[in-house]
């Protein structure tokens, strides 16, 4: 048998080796995640009109084109309209239902919850196709209303979950205190419950807005030329042109999203939101 002290030392060395190996793997995974963003970032400044790597000459002209291309600016505007309506409607509908889900028991509760959370597992192309067929039957395929309704259904589960989790963490004795002090249900709701829920409501709305703005597959089915959103316009661009304009737009996208998430992380604690988000 070897000297126990020696064994301890070799165990320590083994542990250190293990830690190094582990972190190497972690950084390789991080590199895998970041690689496409870095490559797209470099390609965006390629002067040539054909995507090739590495660029031989540099230019910022594709950024100018990304801003001046009409389908992009219209897609951006359409996207803002659709996102504003869809995320706000989803917030009202989802928050109300989350409240009922948490506080009350009523007939059809389980069935309603199952239907409303089902878009989490139903493929988006199926939902998009369903709404397209539905709209075709009532001759409303080219409307903003169609896209908005479709997006509301898609983002509702995220709002519901976010608000439901905040309701769970809320001390309901505060409401009882308000009631015992003579506040009517409506007053208790608006002066006690609602203000306490604001972080949950905001994060639910933010998730809904980001998801709606970026939704692609279902949107491809339910949008027409006049209601086309930015991701759909981007997809159509790739099919027509091979120049780095989309790389430039992607860079803007990545930077803005990372910034938004960093801010959200600083103010809301992304870890907390996401961790409780996925506990079932």
């Amino acid at each position: 048998m070897s000297d126990p002290r020696k064994r301890l030392i070799s165990a320590k060395a083994g542990e250190r080796l293990l830690a190094i190996a582990g972190w190497t793997v972690v950084w390789l995974v991080v590199a895998f995640i970041i690689l496409p963003a870095v490559v797209v970032g470099i390609s965006a400044f390629n002067d040539r009109a054909i995507l090739s790597f590495p660029p031989q000459a540099w230019s910022t002209r594709w950024f100018a084109r990304a801003f001046s291309y009409r389908d992009f600016s219209e897609g951006f505007r359409n996207g803002l309209i659709i996102t504003a309506f869809a995320s706000s409607i989803a917030l009202v509908v989802g928050a109300g239902f989350a409240f009922a889900l948490d506080r009350y028991s009523f007939r059809g509760k389980m069935a309603l919850e199952a239907v409303l959370t089902s878009p989490l597992v139903i493929p988006h192309f199926t939902i998009g196709l369903g709404f397209l067929i539905l709209a075709a039957q009532i001759h409303a395929t080219r409307t903003f209303a169609l896209v908005i309704v479709c997006h509301v259904v898609l983002v509702l589960p995220f709002v519901m979950r976010s608000v439901y989790v905040s309701l769970r963490n809320l001390d309901s004795r505060l409401e009882l205190a308000a009631a015992s002090l003579g506040a009517r249900p409506g007053r208790a709701l608006f002066t006690v419950t609602l203000p306490l829920l604001i972080p949950g409501l905001f994060s639910g709305w933010l998730f809904a807005a980001i998801l709606s703005f970026n939704e692609f597959t279902a949107s491809l089915f339910v949008t027409a030329q006049a209601t086309q959103t930015l991701p759909v316009a981007m997809y159509n661009y790739v099919r027509e042109y091979a120049d780095p304009t989309l790389a430039a737009l992607s860079v803007i996208y990545i930077v803005v999203t990372a910034l938004l998430l960093t801010i959200a992380n600083a103010f809301l604690g992304l870890g907390k939101v996401l961790n409780v988000e996925h506990v079932r």
Partner: protein
């Protein structure tokens, strides 16, 4: 006094939304059993032909390929995501934790088009990987990665990774660390403690993550469409092609319905698999 104030007010809008999504699904189901009338957007009479057509080798093959791609993607994503989730949960360095979290989660919010487009530049014949390999003198001619299953799966792993990391770290962060400490104090090394304690306790998260990744991959459209380029077909790309290239909406609907049944079957199996696993981990 009313014990459920505002109940109707809270539930009515949600009921409307539920009716909308149920109506959309009912519309698909209804179309799946209708005949295709070439040249017309309106379907014909009731028929089961659409489902019989699915049995043709061409379509059966797309089904098999889709399931294969989904399985492959889900398992590779698990292997790639686990170390990152583990590091995310374990590191005590706050800045590092935030960095890992933002890195893991940002792609989720970028949407499929931006991410898939980036992969075209990485995988293309004049793209990043081929240029690097050529520059190093390892290859003379570019390796074909676009329009291959390899390319599609690589990009799909990237697309599915954030969800897997979130689900795994949620599971890992809820494991009581005392179990691991107990194992170590009883003489287990870090590897043994991980393999015999942490890994089994994280199995419910693993199964949940893999089944969600499967469903996500099944749902993916932009990635197989843009990277597969028609050479690698999945159910999603076939549904789109049938709908918008040949306007055969009844068949597209039948394909969607069958795909949906498959997704639900996989998720139900996963749920069954989690049950006994959760009993082990119950505390």
């Amino acid at each position: 006094m009313n014990k459920r104030p505002f109940l109707a007010l809270f539930v009515a809008p949600a009921t409307l939304a539920a009716i909308a999504s149920a109506a959309a699904l009912a519309a698909i189901l209804q179309y799946a059993f209708r005949a295709y009338v070439p040249g017309s957007l309106n379907p014909g009479g009731l028929t089961l032909d659409n489902f019989f057509a699915l049995l043709r080798p061409l379509y059966a093959q797309v089904f098999i390929q889709t399931v294969w791609i989904c399985l492959l993607t889900a398992l590779i994503t698990l292997v790639v995501a686990y170390p990152l989730a583990f590091a995310l949960v374990r590191t005590r360095n706050v800045a590092l934790k935030s960095f890992l979290l933002i890195t893991a989660v940002t792609p989720l919010f970028l949407g499929e088009v931006v991410r898939t487009y980036s992969w075209i530049i990485v995988l293309g014949n004049t793209g990043f990987i081929n240029s690097v390999l050529k520059g190093l003198g390892i290859i003379d001619r570019p390796i074909q990665m676009m329009f291959t299953t390899f390319g599609v799966v690589t990009a799909l792993v990237h697309v599915t990774l954030p969800v897997m990391v979130i689900m795994l770290s949620a599971a890992l962060s809820h494991i009581d660390r005392d179990y691991e400490k107990a194992a170590t104090s009883l003489g287990a090394g870090p590897v043994k403690a991980f393999l015999t304690v942490m890994l089994p306790l994280s199995m419910p998260g693993v199964v949940a993550g893999v089944s969600t990744a499967f469903a996500w991959t099944f749902s993916a459209f932009a990635t197989p469409q843009m990277i597969g380029g028609g050479k690698v077909s999945m159910i999603s790309t076939l549904v789109y092609q049938l709908g918008f290239a040949s306007f055969n909406f009844p068949f597209a609907a039948a394909l969607s319905v069958t795909g949906l049944a498959l997704t639900f079957a996989v998720l139900a199996m996963a749920k069954q698999a989690i049950k006994p696993l959760e009993k082990i981990g119950a505390h």
